[in-house]
Symmetry: C2
């Protein structure tokens, strides 16, 4: 009965599973994808897409400040959150159809239901057992209950809550270290919600370089967003007037009154997968995989949020992981490129950090050279008042190989593509230094930052 054996089963139809299924099918495999919820997963339905959409609206509002300096004066602006949500719901519905169309075009069988491993080579779905040669686990992450006092209150919530409302709350505390919280904070602030952004860490984006952290913090504070660091929720109680939250920071303890507390604690969706039936350990925070995205059990691959610590929960990493897993499942030799891992933030200014920070590069044993070009010295940066903008380059000293690039400023997430290619192609500082980017663009600062590394900037004072 070999005709009933799939070459590849993909468990989960999100940002990782869909490209995995398509790629495996392109390589000639008989492929099925199993999804119990909406096709597109967290990213398309409740993550990158709706919040990307919200950040665009937020950025349009932000650009009016620059417009005013340029003589464009708006006498009044109304913000209809319901219209925004309706538009993005329609968009997401359209995208879901598109994903289905892509799967069908590539002859991937779509199975609607909750799949669960049922011993090696078998998966159970909708009461049936189906067989596979390889399986790609792509079930992503799920919300975890925050670990602060009062986390059981119904007013303690996550971003899903915002997607189901037609009106925004008046006062919100955003608590945690997730970069995504920073986006939500700026969005809510622009839509006239009072926000406090609080983290236990020493800074927002605590793993990024000092320049990126401090410039983003300054930009957000200048916009009027309250940021508390090294903070802790001591108590949280529902009282008259709202949630009373006692917050302790290094310097003081204060009580803030808000309507909602938003936390974005997420963890790999390991339970209910049947991992124990194949001998995989589901006790850790995520499933360990090698650079081929193989789990310790042959024929079983995992990637995306399921196979990564929470700081690596980015859709594009899931997508790459999915493609790598699919290629290996179909007999090719493919590896995940850890060098170009990109962390992005769609705030205004945007942040994109690719590859290693200087600290990480030193820890990895490199002899490091660094250089930076502020966008306040870039002609286009001056035009659009990129006072906090910066391009940082981290390289290895002897050959000048680029190891990391960090951007803060308008369009940073698109400029990130240059860093991805530079690092992937093993570009040296000399090569970056002579790249002729069009004028006037912020990208010109990529070459200037490389020249700064080499001790010979052309335009920097």
């Amino acid at each position: 009965m070999t005709e009933n054996i799939y070459d590849v089963i993909v468990l989960g139809g999100g940002a990782g599973g869909v490209p995995a299924a398509v790629r495996a099918a392109q390589l000639g495999g008989r492929v099925a994808i199993i999804e119990c919820g909406n096709m597109g997963g967290q990213c398309m339905n409740k993550g990158c897409i709706p919040f990307g959409h919200m950040m665009v609206a937020s950025n349009i509002l932000g650009s009016l400040t620059l417009g005013k300096e340029m003589g464009l004066d708006v006498s009044g602006i109304s913000k209809d959150y319901a219209t925004l949500i309706n538009r993005q719901d329609e968009l997401i519905d359209f995208m879901r159809q598109g994903v289905k169309g892509t799967l069908i075009k590539n002859k991937v069988e779509i199975i609607e239901g909750r799949g669960k491993l049922a011993g090696k080579g078998k998966v159970e779905v909708n009461g049936k057992t189906i067989a596979y040669k390889s399986i790609i686990l792509a079930t992503g992450a799920k919300w975890l209950k925050p670990d602060f006092p009062g986390a059981d209150l119904k007013e303690v919530t996550n971003t899903d809550y915002l997607l189901n409302e037609k009106k925004l709350p008046k006062r919100v505390l955003l608590f945690g270290g997730s970069p995504w919280l920073i986006e939500v904070a700026q969005f809510l602030h622009r839509f006239d919600t009072e926000v406090i952004l609080a983290t236990e860490d020493k800074s927002i984006l605590s793993d990024e370089s000092k320049a990126i952290r401090s410039r983003l913090t300054k930009a957000l504070k200048d916009q009027g967003i309250s940021i508390l660091t090294r903070s802790e929720i001591v108590s949280l109680n529902k009282k008259k007037g709202g949630l009373h939250c006692a917050l302790r920071t290094k310097d003081k303890e204060e009580t803030v009154v808000v309507d909602r507390v938003i936390s974005l604690r997420r963890g790999a969706a390991l339970t209910e997968l049947g991992l124990e039936t194949v001998g995989l350990d589901g006790k850790g925070d995520f499933i360990p995989v090698n650079e081929r995205m193989e789990t310790p059990v042959g024929g079983i691959y995992a990637m995306g949020d399921l196979a990564a610590p929470e700081t690596r929960h980015y859709s594009h990493l899931a997508s790459q992981g999915g493609i790598v897993a699919a290629e290996n499942a179909m007999g090719k030799a493919s590896t995940f490129d850890h060098r170009t891992i990109t962390r992005v933030l769609f705030t205004q200014p945007q942040v994109a950090c690719i590859g290693l920070t200087s600290k990480e590069a030193k820890q990895a044993g490199y002899d490091v050279v660094e250089g930076a070009a502020p966008l306040s010295m870039n002609p286009f940066g001056m035009i659009i008042s990129q006072n906090e903008g910066l391009v940082e380059v981290v390289a290895e000293k002897e050959y000048g190989e680029v190891l990391g690039m960090h951007f803060i400023g308008q369009g940073a997430c698109e400029m990130a593509g240059q860093a991805v290619l530079a690092i992937q192609m093993e570009a040296t500082l000399e090569e970056l230094a002579k790249a002729t980017f069009p004028h006037p663009t912020l990208s010109e600062s990529v070459a200037e930052a490389a020249r700064e590394c080499l001790g010979r900037p052309i335009y920097l004072p």
Copy 2:
């Protein structure tokens, strides 16, 4: 008197001259730069910077259309052109100071005056003769009188006119093939001037690919901009009510009444340079140079608008040329990278075309493979309604070497940087196809367009 001999004299302090002077000084040369007008040249004073600034204002206005779809309703907007001009004048003044500071920091001597070649190894300025080992000619381009009837009328003008006004004209005919005219047309239209954009060519951006041309045309027409192609000014007369302009197109002849006609005909500033004193021919349209930016006369270099046909009048090409000339003048071996020549347009949508079109690649003898990814299929493109957006890739078939990339859409001029690096680094389609660009960005379509070239797109229908 060797102490009075400069290693390098740079004639002209614009987008090409300034980096040339700085680079020559960095390499240890005794360097002077001679400029008779404002430091920064056409680009900074009357070109890229002021019009870049105006396009930003224009794009903010344009983004309100998307904002409205997203529930952001602006009840009244006033457009104060005088404020816009004042802001950019201040900005340009600041930039000029910056350029002077950079030159001084690098120990470049600044000579204010009109320099002129006075035989080999000598240049005259302010009545004195100074000696050099090498000279870099960087005097750029100047306005040429248009060649249509009525061109002598004072209402026939160029973009300098717009920079000196506090109010915009009501009705303008923009005539010619310059890409810059397209930017000005959109800007004026957004600032409520009635515009007609007319060209003798078969299309706007007539040298670019059909997809880019047709998509840009559609976008502009949808915005309400009148575009006439294969058109000719038959007559132009000043009458009551304005300038009466008889325009002949393929189909018909019509008379339009406008207040101003703007033409952007420019040519290399060859006269008054004293080229004849060193045996250089100033009769052509520009000074021919080799890939080292050397003129036929030893020790004399030229670049930028002075050494290029009008379709290559881009500041970033002047800057690269200046650096290449300076390095060669100082004894290094440096060449201009023609492969990454980038043509940009800061309209909404932006256009950026890098390297070869498919037609050019075929003419150059390549076996060509092409692929495109519409931004209307890109998740972020859907969010921001990039209906006309596209990424096109042109590659050589056997090895998949990327030869050209063309972008239309938001941020195209920044995304261009990826194409510059890809072509410079000799990236193949396989390499582009696996590049992991962050999600959700338009850059993701770069990888998808490469996969489309390879016959295996992941997301395209």
